[in-house]
């Protein structure tokens, strides 16, 4: 089952990139050549282009971009993980509540989801972010997750409804298994696949969103650095400060693209069609 995935070079490469970034995030303080928030020399090292001493250049207050990128991997990936976790958690709760509810409640819950899906996410996000002022990374990640779970809820409900009619679930019922046991043993494990897909795609969505939010002024609180905040620092002057845009963008693209590939391949693997 997983052997097929293991033989898929694109999946392996993408998973390896994600794995490598996780390793980088864990080891960031050891790997970073300078302390990430050290202002090296405010008079001489501001916005200097890549050099032997600073491979990725320095930023506006003379911090080493490479070090910030490496340490930023922590914030970005942790935020990604928390946001994805939040959105999956809420999505599973809401979706399964809808799937298991009587029809009228199910309808009510799903209409709410429709409304939320029709709602521009960015407005929601901006409003919430503005309401709380500048949030530390973890609550910000929770907010990111909390505005992005509607699709997951829909997926979970659809999957649960479909699973309820799957023949192995009917077979378990025919065997005389009680419903809670069927849910626990036969239904929930089968949600793992769709959720893995939803998780990778949510990660792919959330990481650039954080960048966009930072761009609009609601991102990670200084001096912490996420890739999004690094990118936003110079996003309006990509020509003059190319190193402050290029490297964080590459890092971001590598993670987002990998997460997308992993999600796509898992989707194909679990045969979800265009449901997720």
């Amino acid at each position: 089952m997983t052997a097929r995935l293991r033989r898929d070079p694109a999946f392996v490469l993408a998973a390896a990139i994600l794995g490598a970034w996780v390793a980088v995030a864990l080891l960031a303080p050891q790997l970073a050549p300078y302390p990430s928030d050290l202002q090296l020399d405010l008079t001489r090292l501001r916005e200097s282009a890549p050099s032997a001493a600073h491979w990725f250049g320095t930023d506006g207050v003379s911090r080493d971009v490479l070090s910030r990128l490496l340490v930023g991997a922590r914030v970005t990936l942790l935020m990604g993980a928390i946001a994805v976790g939040t959105s999956l958690g809420l999505g599973v709760l809401w979706g399964s509540a809808a799937a298991l509810s009587p029809l009228w409640l199910d309808r009510l819950l799903m209409r709410t989801i429709d409304a939320c899906l029709a709602f521009p996410r960015l407005v929601l996000l901006l409003s919430v972010a503005a309401a709380f002022g500048q949030l530390p990374p973890i609550p910000l990640a929770v907010v990111l997750g909390a505005t992005g779970w509607f699709g997951t809820a829909r997926l979970v409900r659809a999957e649960l409804r479909a699973l309820a009619e799957r023949s192995w679930v009917v077979a378990a019922r025919a065997l005389g298994a009680p419903e809670p046991r069927i849910l626990r043993r036969h239904v929930l494990p089968a949600l793992v696949g769709p959720l893995a897909v939803a998780a990778s795609l949510a990660l792919a969505a959330v990481v650039p969103l954080e960048a966009g939010l930072t761009f609009l002024g609601f991102g990670v609180r200084a001096p912490a650095a996420s890739w999004g905040s690094l990118l936003a620092e110079a996003a309006d002057r990509p020509d003059a400060l190319w190193w402050m845009v290029l490297f964080p963008a590459l890092a971001l693209v590598s993670v987002v693209a990998s997460a997308t590939v992993v999600g796509d391949r898992l989707r194909r693997h679990f045969d979800l069609g265009d449901r997720a």
Partner: protein
């Protein structure tokens, strides 16, 4: 090819060629209104003051005391009563509203009535308390009656008050004036008249050919808006815009690559400070647990190398702040001693205050409390964000932890108004005169809704400022205010961070005269442009 055309353009900027020209001003904020009485921000003033003329214009020295240096505008002359409680303004009989009606005394009277009417919600209403009323002596003579003598009497009536076309707004109730269609498409008396205002896009003004002060030398002025400042800069660099009011230091550096564009420096009226809240952010009657302490504020001030901060942010285009004033103000005094940058002394003071550094700590503590606070910064300002980072590092070096709380502007203002902050990096733009000093730093500004953000309270300062504001000669004012400034700088209710030198960007085809620090646009109608671009096709 382009370069040749450019060379041809240079040097032949004659007023006549200029009359067909279009000057494009790139900017990032639309006016909040086109009626001067509602405008608070420079971008809005730049436009509305082309549409509306004042009674008189301030002189290049920006002196606000008496009427020295003021030049006639709508009022061709004025005379003081013997007791100085009345000024009669004689209007220029040639002055016309854009609809052709003459400007009359009733227009001046109506302007004051509206500004003072609280239903109009004009921001400066309270400033006009000193003017009792304006009476119409004859159709071309308006007399302002003052309740008391003050050095700024003339400045108030002759400069801050803009006559309005009474006939055009007769049907508009004061409380709907702000939201009326007239506020978006007003009839003014200035050298330019409004052609169109496309929201989020541009405002187009056209020269009034038969203006009483003579036709402007520009055919048309267009303000082009882009909420992203970088778009405005790119427009300037690409030659699509002719002028931009302020460039950031990196943009000034970048500008060297574009031969058609040059930098134009001029003094600034802005200064930026780190305000320490002397009161507790929650219980306003209590002193702030940290910043209620003058010695601590002084110690923290000593930890900051403002010279380096200004250089890091602006290179040569900015200077460290001096105090609650800018160098361009008439009463500015650059010789007042500042609290020196001295990390050793800062550490020693903190030690002596009981804020101790444990063996393995990086942050000082006293009685179990960490020397830590949060500082509000508007996230939209890159300079202030950067300054916050540098301050953060400086405080860390002496064992204090400053966290940065970036907020969008509306959120920032809300917190600032409610005084819900420990410290805040605030940008300030004082009036040319000293009138607002008691409001911003004196006890008068402590009331809710007042502007004394730091809740600074000092009897010495109040007394000195009060007499300084009311001094009737510039020399006396300067002397009295020096005492006030010495007091406040020593009390360190804020760290006066920096005062940028403004750098405007202009296309080389534009002949830019010396720009006034408080209003770069003051002489806009006299600018000339070598008209050679497709947009310079204004016909009269």
């Amino acid at each position: 090819m382009r370069l040749l055309a450019l060379l041809a353009v240079l040097g032949c900027a004659s007023p006549d060629a200029s009359r067909t020209a279009t000057l494009v001003v790139a900017t990032s904020a639309e006016p909040s209104s086109l009626l001067p009485m509602f405008v608070t921000e420079t971008q809005g003033r730049a436009v509305s003051e082309q549409l509306f003329d004042r009674l008189s214009e301030i002189g290049p020295g920006l002196n606000t005391v008496g009427d020295a240096g003021f030049a006639p505008r709508l009022a061709e002359r004025w005379e003081w009563s013997a007791d100085s409680l009345r000024i009669a303004f004689h209007l220029d009989p040639r002055a016309r509203w854009h609809d052709g009606q003459p400007v009359r005394a009733i227009d001046v009277q109506r302007a004051l009535q509206l500004v003072k009417d609280s239903r109009t919600t004009a921001p400066q209403a309270s400033d006009f308390g000193a003017i009792d009323s304006i009476s119409v002596t004859d159709s071309l003579t308006a007399t302002a009656w003052f309740s008391r003598r003050s050095p700024q009497q003339f400045y108030l009536a002759g400069y801050l008050l803009f006559p309005v076309p009474a006939h055009a707004i007769a049907g508009i109730a004061p409380d709907s004036l702000r939201t009326s269609a007239f506020a978006r498409a007003p009839i003014g008396s200035g050298p330019f008249t409004l052609v169109s205002w496309l929201p989020q896009d541009r405002i187009e003004l056209r020269a009034v050919a038969d203006h009483y002060r003579g036709a402007p030398t520009l055919g048309r002025v267009v303000w082009q808006y882009a909420s992203e400042a970088s778009v405005s800069v790119r427009r300037l660099f690409a030659g699509e815009a002719d002028f931009m009011e302020t460039l950031s230091p990196p943009d000034v550096a970048e500008l060297a690559k574009y031969p058609e564009v040059r930098a134009v420096g001029y003094p600034s009226f802005d200064y930026t400070l780190l305000a320490f809240n002397a009161r507790d952010p929650v219980r306003h009657t209590q002193p702030h647990p940290l910043f209620g302490d003058r010695a601590l504020r002084r110690a923290l001030t000593m930890a900051v190398d403002r010279q380096q901060l200004a250089r890091a942010l602006f290179d040569s285009l900015g200077a460290p702040g001096l105090g609650p004033f800018v160098r361009a103000q008439a009463f500015a005094d650059t010789t007042i001693p500042a609290i020196p940058f001295d990390v050793v002394a800062a550490r020693a003071t903190l030690d002596s205050l009981g804020w101790r550094l444990g063996a393995n700590d990086s942050i000082r503590t006293r009685g179990g409390k960490r020397l830590a606070w949060s500082t509000l910064v508007p996230a939209s300002s890159k300079n202030r964000q950067k300054a916050a980072l540098i301050l953060q590092a400086a405080f860390k070096a002496v064992g204090a932890e400053m966290t940065i709380e970036g907020l969008d502007f509306a959120g920032f203002l809300a917190r600032q108004d409610a005084r819900r902050f420990d410290a805040a990096i605030v940008g300030w733009r004082p009036n040319a005169g000293a009138v607002s000093l008691p409001q911003t730093w004196g006890r008068a500004g402590l009331r809710p809704g007042g502007n004394n953000l730091a809740s600074y309270a000092s009897d010495t300062f109040d007394a000195a400022v009060d007499s300084g504001v009311n001094a009737l000669s510039p020399v006396e004012q300067r002397r009295l205010l020096r005492r006030a400034f010495e007091t406040i700088i020593a009390d360190a209710p804020a760290i006066w961070l920096y005062e940028p030198r403004n750098v405007a960007g202009a296309h080389r085809r534009v002949a830019v005269p010396a720009l006034r620090p408080d209003a770069w646009w003051a002489d806009l109608s006299r600018w000339t442009v070598a008209a050679r671009l497709p947009r310079d096709t204004v016909t009269r």
